[in-house]
């Protein structure tokens, strides 16, 4: 089963500076009290926004209307650490984001984002500084994340990005939604189960 192929994501950026931004900050646990993911985007970074906006109205980038059309999230290191809640990438994607460029990501967050068709690509600290500064100065700056050439373009400049080959292939071939793949040739799954003594019996 293939889904949409994902090769290029373009649009304005949303710069969120900071190291180790955990999923509790991305979406606080009190908003997980629901049996659906609907409406999560309204609470994206809610407590961080409240803290920063209290100092100056709408000064948190996620509150600032200048960034409301953003499709590319820009972050620093170990983004999405902590809780495995998929609510975090769900809230980000429902806010309109289609790709994240950052220095590094937590593994669980990275995997959850793949499952939503939202690539998390890595770039060096200098690249992130350049991209964030450009976007902060001119929020309408168009960013282009290209998984074919493994680059991000902004203001005529091109920077290299990285993404592990399996994830890249999954986006380019439209196989990032794994369920179909996992159900193909299901006899192989049953064969592995049969060989495991704790499944088949001691």
């Amino acid at each position: 089963m293939t889904v949409e192929r994902i090769q290029r994501i373009s649009g304005p950026g949303l710069p969120i500076r900071g190291e180790n931004i955990d999923t509790d900050r991305i979406i606080p646990a009190r908003f997980l009290k629901s049996v659906s993911f609907e409406g999560l985007e309204t609470h994206l970074f809610e407590d961080d926004r409240r803290e920063v906006d209290a100092r100056q109205h709408d000064s948190h980038p996620a509150s600032n209307p200048a960034f409301s059309a953003a499709t590319v999230l820009l972050v620093n290191t170990n983004f999405g650490c902590g809780s495995s809640r998929e609510h975090a990438p769900q809230a980000i994607r429902r806010r309109g984001i289609r790709a994240i460029v950052g220095e590094s990501f937590s593994e669980i967050f990275f995997g959850n984002s793949i499952a939503l068709g939202m690539p998390c690509v890595s770039a060096g600290a200098e690249t992130m500084q350049a991209l964030m500064t450009a976007v902060e100065r001119t929020p309408s700056t168009e960013l282009v994340v290209d998984l074919e050439s493994m680059t991000v373009h902004s203001n005529g400049a091109t920077y290299p990005i990285t993404l592990p080959a399996p994830a890249r292939d999954a986006f380019l071939s439209g196989t990032w939604d794994a369920t179909g793949l996992l159900l193909a040739d299901f006899d192989d799954v049953r064969a592995v189960a049969r060989k495991l003594p704790y499944v088949s019996g001691w």
């Binding site: 900071g18 190291e19 180790n20 955990d22 509790d24 900050r25 606080p28 646990a29 009190r30 997980l32 009290k33 629901s34 049996v35 659906s36 993911f37 809610e46 407590d47 409240r50 803290e51 170990n78 650490c81 902590g82 809780s83 495995s84 809640r85 998929e86 609510h87 769900q90 590094s104 937590s106 593994e107 669980i108 995997g111 959850n112 499952a115 939503l116 080959a165 399996p166 994830a167 292939d169 999954a170 071939s173 196989t175 939604d177 794994a178 369920t179 793949l181 996992l182 159900l183 299901f186 192989d188 799954v189 592995v192 189960a193 495991l196 003594p197 704790y198 499944v199 019996g201 001691w202």
Partner: protein, 465 residues
Amino acid sequence: MPSTLFEKVWNAHSVRRLPTGQTQLFIGLHLIHEVTSPQAFDMLRARGGTVAFPDRTIATVDHIVPTSDQRRPFIDLKAEEMLSSLERNCREYGIHLVDLNSGHQGIVHVIGPELGLTQPGMTIACGDSHTSTHGAFGAIAFGIGTSQVRDVLASQCLTMEPLKVRRIEVRGRLASGVYAKDVILTIIRRLGVNGGVGYAYEYAGDTVERMSMEERMTICNMSIEGGARIGYVNPDQKTFDYLQARRFAPHGDDFERAVQWWRSMASDAGAPYDDQVVLDAAGIRPTVTWGINPGESVSVDEPVPSDAEADALAFMGVTRGQKLAGTRIDVAFIGSCTNGRLSDLREAARIVRGNHVAPRVKALVVPGSQSVRAAAEREGLDRVFTEAGFEWRGAGCSMCLAMNNDRLEGTEVCASSSNRNFKGRQGSPTGRTLLMSPAMVAAAAIAGEVVDVRQLSGVEAGVDG
């Protein structure tokens, strides 16, 4: 060729290499709860799918359960809706639910081992990052998101990329008053909160070998706080003894055969590791976090580092060079999948006995499961706590992440035996969390401020025994 437990378990569960280069991995045990599974069932339904191996998924309710009044329907209607949804899904797909009336309900990472569901050599997945806890038994256990919960329900498989293995060897005796919690906080501080990204952590060395299963669970539980999605300890006689006669563990001759297989899955002598780290247990002291992630910690008698990050300091109201001993607390929380087991409650009770909680401090004990609660009550620990002014609650995640009514207010400071000191983690956006061992939480509750548990008279604590 000698190999690691990680490699053996991985290979035994590999179905195939996918065209993308990922591995399709069979999941031997799938644990679900009310927060991260309802959307997965809805996705499955929307695709017209079914649950491939319903007897390999076990459910419980933990995150949202009130720990005071558990009568149904819950007063919190959203919590009630989440549990009702889980009950409906389990009924519809034939999944065993360890519910509030079972006598065994509790935090998913406490009840898995308790019921003997968690066994060596397994792959275990759950929509919860602290699934690494189960690695204490020599299982490869890791947290997943909701789309992956859907995948496991549909296929009992996940797409995964292999990890590197870092062996973390802890050598020597822990001093009195120093616990497994202090060991893992020290490891995270040393290797960094993202030091484990791309790795499975294998905890080894004589210190870990001497630890009880519950202490090993505390260590493995917080692997994810160091960035490692998986942490494990090789199974040994202690592991097998723990599992014997537990409900879902093999029985009779099966148990003997199981032990043989479990032994065979342990890392071989001379197995290759991608990295090795050695830690001296004697150098570890009671540890407390000062900042907003679990790597930002110091020994209780050590100054906050001079290069501490300004944002974290401002949030916590802490200054560089300050020692945490003497920090006033408002709330003391003993519980969670990290430190909500019987041995944790025993250690805390030893400190509490004959003392009283400081006047302004709200102190609560939330056992990790109904079984832990019952066992503690048989020993009279509930009375030790309540006579000292602690609240004695029902089982659940409670104030670790405040998805029920147990939460911090305003800028309250909480001495907590849980696993995360993230901003807002305990329910108040401005609430402040100091992570520490249960014994240190108990001591702080009584003193009304952070104290060095080693300085309390009559305390002869320590894991070596």
